[in-house]
């Protein structure tokens, strides 16, 4: 029972992280009908950025890793990570996807695969070929423990919730209630008509990529601190999980992507705990294939999906 509770806690945390990345896929797919293959590698660069931030804080500034100041400074860098990845994501759109906007569908997808490999190699340059340990900035103090003293819910897990949930709600508000969000929804529905109605389509698409990139950057910071390590192949690993989450929720559907992320996170954690970790990705891919075969609109698809 305690094992189950612990697995669910981990699953929820992983799920919220996956949701942040999945929303990036869904936003871009909604507006361009493009699977942004490089999206998860942008996230990976976010983990790399965080790694260097903590290195600077601990090694250069000499602030001890466990101290409150280090934690505060790391969190203060959250906007920086988000700007960094947002700019990368938008630049990729500008250079590699925009010239192909009217090309056959598979052309930008192949270009995106190319960019994914480019970013992966940038990660390889920044992080080296093996996993890099991130300074333990985040104290793993327990908040809730089981009666037998085992850890149930820690400060690190609270941090994941504190970053991801406000971002998810904020995005929902932005897309649903602001003028820019309305422009995004309009562009997703009909790009040409939106252009005729006076919406700057290029700007809206750039904005979409900025937002997707920023969310991926936030996920990068959370992963680097929560997992305590970063790796240049995190992009590929998290990418497939997140894409599955986006498909599960009905790609193009924001709420769906968030729910899908949580479901995938829970399934992954349960499989890690009760089956074997080495089979988890097989289970996730099987879910992906089954969903695409039997319900390509997604499990949580609404009739009129809220596409952004």
């Amino acid at each position: 029972m305690e094992e189950l509770a612990k697995a669910l806690t981990i699953g929820l945390n992983n799920g919220l992280i996956i949701a942040l990345i999945a929303i990036g896929y869904t936003l871009v797919y909604g507006i361009l009908e493009l699977i942004n293959f490089a999206h998860a590698d942008v996230f990976m660069l976010g983990t790399a950025f965080t790694f260097y931030v903590t290195e600077v804080i601990v090694r250069v500034l000499g602030i001890p890793a466990g101290s409150g100041l280090a934690l505060l400074l790391t969190f203060a860098s959250l906007p920086l990570v988000m700007i960094f990845t947002a700019v990368i994501n938008a630049s990729i759109e500008r250079t590699a996807y925009r010239p192909l906007r009217n090309a056959p569908r598979l052309a930008p997808l192949i270009s995106a695969i190319g960019m994914s490999f480019v970013l992966q190699n940038v990660g390889l340059v920044l992080l080296g070929p093996s996993q890099k340990a991130v300074e333990p900035v985040l104290p793993r103090t327990d908040i809730l423990t089981f009666p037998n003293g085992a850890s149930w819910f820690g400060l690190d897990e609270l941090m994941v919730l504190a970053v991801t949930i406000p971002l998810l709600l904020g995005l929902r508000w932005f897309v649903g209630s602001t003028r820019q969000g309305k422009a995004m929804r309009a562009t997703a529905q009909d790009r040409e008509a939106s252009g005729l109605m006076g919406i700057d389509v290029n700007r809206t698409i750039s904005l979409t990529f900025l937002i997707a990139g920023a969310l991926a950057g936030a996920a990068g910071l959370v992963v680097a601190l929560y997992y305590g390590q970063t790796f240049f192949q995190y992009g590929f690993q998290f990418g497939l999980l997140s894409f599955t989450a986006a498909v599960l929720g009905g790609i193009g559907n924001l709420t769906g992507a968030a729910m899908g992320g949580i479901v995938i996170g829970l399934i992954g954690a349960l499989s890690d705990r009760f089956l074997e970790a080495k089979w988890t990705s097989v289970i996730v891919f099987t879910i992906l294939i089954l969903v695409l075969i039997f319900r390509p609109t997604g499990l949580l698809a609404e009739k009129q999906s809220e596409r952004a």
């Binding site: 009908e33 493009l34 699977i35 250079t95 590699a96 010239p99 192909l100 009217n102 090309a103 056959p104 569908r105 598979l106 052309a107 930008p108 997808l109 192949i110 270009s111 695969i113 190319g114 960019m115 994914s116 490999f117 480019v118 992966q120 190699n121 390889l124 340059v125 080296g128 070929p129 590929f236 497939l240 894409f243 599955t244 498909v247 080495k278 089979w279 990705s281 097989v282 891919f285 099987t286 992906l288 294939i289 695409l292 075969i293 390509p296």
Partner: protein, 460 residues
């Protein structure tokens, strides 16, 4: 794609242009065949005489030809039928593992490779059908992801089945069903050794010819023959009714269905035939290396084959074979050569001087996929038809250029058309450049129409 009017290329004078095209083709083939046979024998001499040239070793050539088979197979799926398959490596792995299971001491089964190869081909084809049947109705980009997922599943399953422990849950009695730690696929250690193909012909090399990596020259001849066979089959397929059906689907699936083509069966045939060639290549690789490891069948292999096809010219048989040799040569010979002789040394000493870890450990070959990633994006943006495109694609692209220029009121219509016709002649069997020029002019439709017609979706 709104194909921009590209600047006209200067007319290239072709020394073969006046020759009978069929003769010319046979001539080129004979020259290539002689080179292929002689090169590995002359390799050592060449290397010691001109050490400053990065000569590819025979082993590299074998990889080139293996990827030639893979590229020809994937070209059926991507180039002919217009379906993006990102998990092509799965069938390569299935072919290799089938060979390993049936021709090694792993299960103690030792069937001759010459029989096993066909079993491997059939197995890969069956898996192609199993994956394709439910998924081929999906749209292009979803299919890409499904196949990617399948590729990963196959790799992980082959890796994990090396160590299976299947137990009933405790409340059902907790009996062991499989295992503990049963080994089905060799897991991370792989399967080793696998019986290589042999022919009982004696000679200076021993009492039989063994086609393994111990005997690279003979293996090179074998894989070359396999690639030639694949190429011939692909030519026949392209020119068959089935081939035309594939291309019709690629250009416009709805129209093809309306013309009475069963699109599901036709696409499925493309998928399983493509898979079978991958299995064919896998059967060779496994037996030639006499060992296989699950981790070598990773996503990068699938992408490398896609890079080859995009680089060589999607849909172009000649293009993808040239692409396979060029890309593999760059990957396996040129980059290591440039790294060892030009780039690594200075950068590493710079790293030692400055203390930058990144430079100290610098190896050019580490960043090969950076090059391929950039190549993919640039090819898609600048030259989506590839470097050695299909004649029809090229003509179509240039035809749009002509139409636009002609309506723009340019005076030298025929000159331009002639030049284009010559371009086509360079690559195709059009007898007379003049008549081709006239045909090119006749085919000239108003640019607006051409733009509407556009280039087929999913072909680039």
């Amino acid at each position: 794609m709104t194909t921009a009017v590209r600047s006209r290329r200067p007319a290239v004078s072709n020394p073969f242009a006046s020759m009978d095209p069929r003769r010319r083709r046979i001539g080129v083939l004979v020259i290539l065949a002689v080179l292929a046979v002689v090169y590995p024998v002359a390799f050592r001499a060449l290397e010691s005489t001109f050490p400053f040239i990065p000569w590819p070793g025979t082993a590299v050539l074998i990889t080139c030809a293996t990827f030639g088979i893979l590229a020809l197979g994937l070209n059926i799926v991507m180039g002919f039928a217009g379906l993006l398959d990102l998990g092509y490596v799965a069938f390569y792995a299935i072919g290799a593992y089938t060979t390993a299971f049936l021709a090694s001491s792993h299960f103690g089964i030792h069937i001759s490779w010459w029989i096993v190869v066909w079993i491997a081909v059939a197995t890969a084809a069956i898996f192609g059908i199993l994956l394709g049947a439910p998924t081929l109705k999906l749209r292009g980009d979803y299919l890409a992801i499904v196949t990617l997922g399948f590729g990963e599943i196959v790799r992980i399953v082959f890796r994990n089945l090396g160590d299976i422990t299947l137990k009933l849950p405790d409340f059902l009695g907790g009996q062991m069903i499989i295992g503990p730690n049963a080994n089905l696929t060799g897991g991370n250690v792989g399967i080793n050794p696998i019986d290589p193909p042999t022919i009982p012909i004696g000679g200076p090399w021993g009492d039989q010819i063994v086609f393994s990596n111990q005997n690279a020259i003979f293996s090179w001849y074998l894989v070359l023959a396999l690639m030639a066979l694949t190429f011939l089959i692909c030519v026949r397929l392209r020119d068959s009714k089935l081939g035309r059906a594939w291309m019709a689907i690629r250009e416009d699936e709805t129209a093809a269905a309306a013309m009475g083509i069963n699109t599901v069966t036709t696409k499925l045939l493309a998928f399983s035939l493509g898979a079978s060639f991958s299995g064919f290549a896998g059967a060779f690789t496994g037996a030639y290396n006499t060992a296989i490891f699950a981790e070598t069948f990773n996503f990068n292999v699938s992408i490398l084959v896609v890079v080859i096809i995009i680089f060589g010219g999607i849909g172009s048989l000649r293009g993808v074979v040239i692409g396979a040799f060029v890309v593999q040569y760059i990957d396996k010979t040129l980059l290591p050569f440039l790294g060892d002789n030009v780039v690594n040394g200075p950068l590493q000493s710079l790293g030692n001087a400055t203390g930058i870890q990144l430079l100290t450990d610098f190896k050019l070959t580490t960043y090969n996929y950076l090059l391929f990633g950039i190549l993919l994006a640039i090819m898609m943006i600048r030259r989506p038809e590839g470097l050695f495109p299909v004649e029809s694609h090229k003509a179509e692209l240039h035809g749009i250029g002509v139409a636009a220029e002609v309506t723009a009121g340019s005076a030298d219509e025929l000159a331009i058309a002639e030049e284009i016709a010559e371009d086509i002649v360079l690559a195709d069997d059009v007898e007379d450049p003049r008549s081709a020029a006239e045909a090119a002019l006749e085919a000239d439709t108003p640019p607006s129409q051409i733009r509407d017609r556009d280039l087929p979706e999913d072909t680039r």
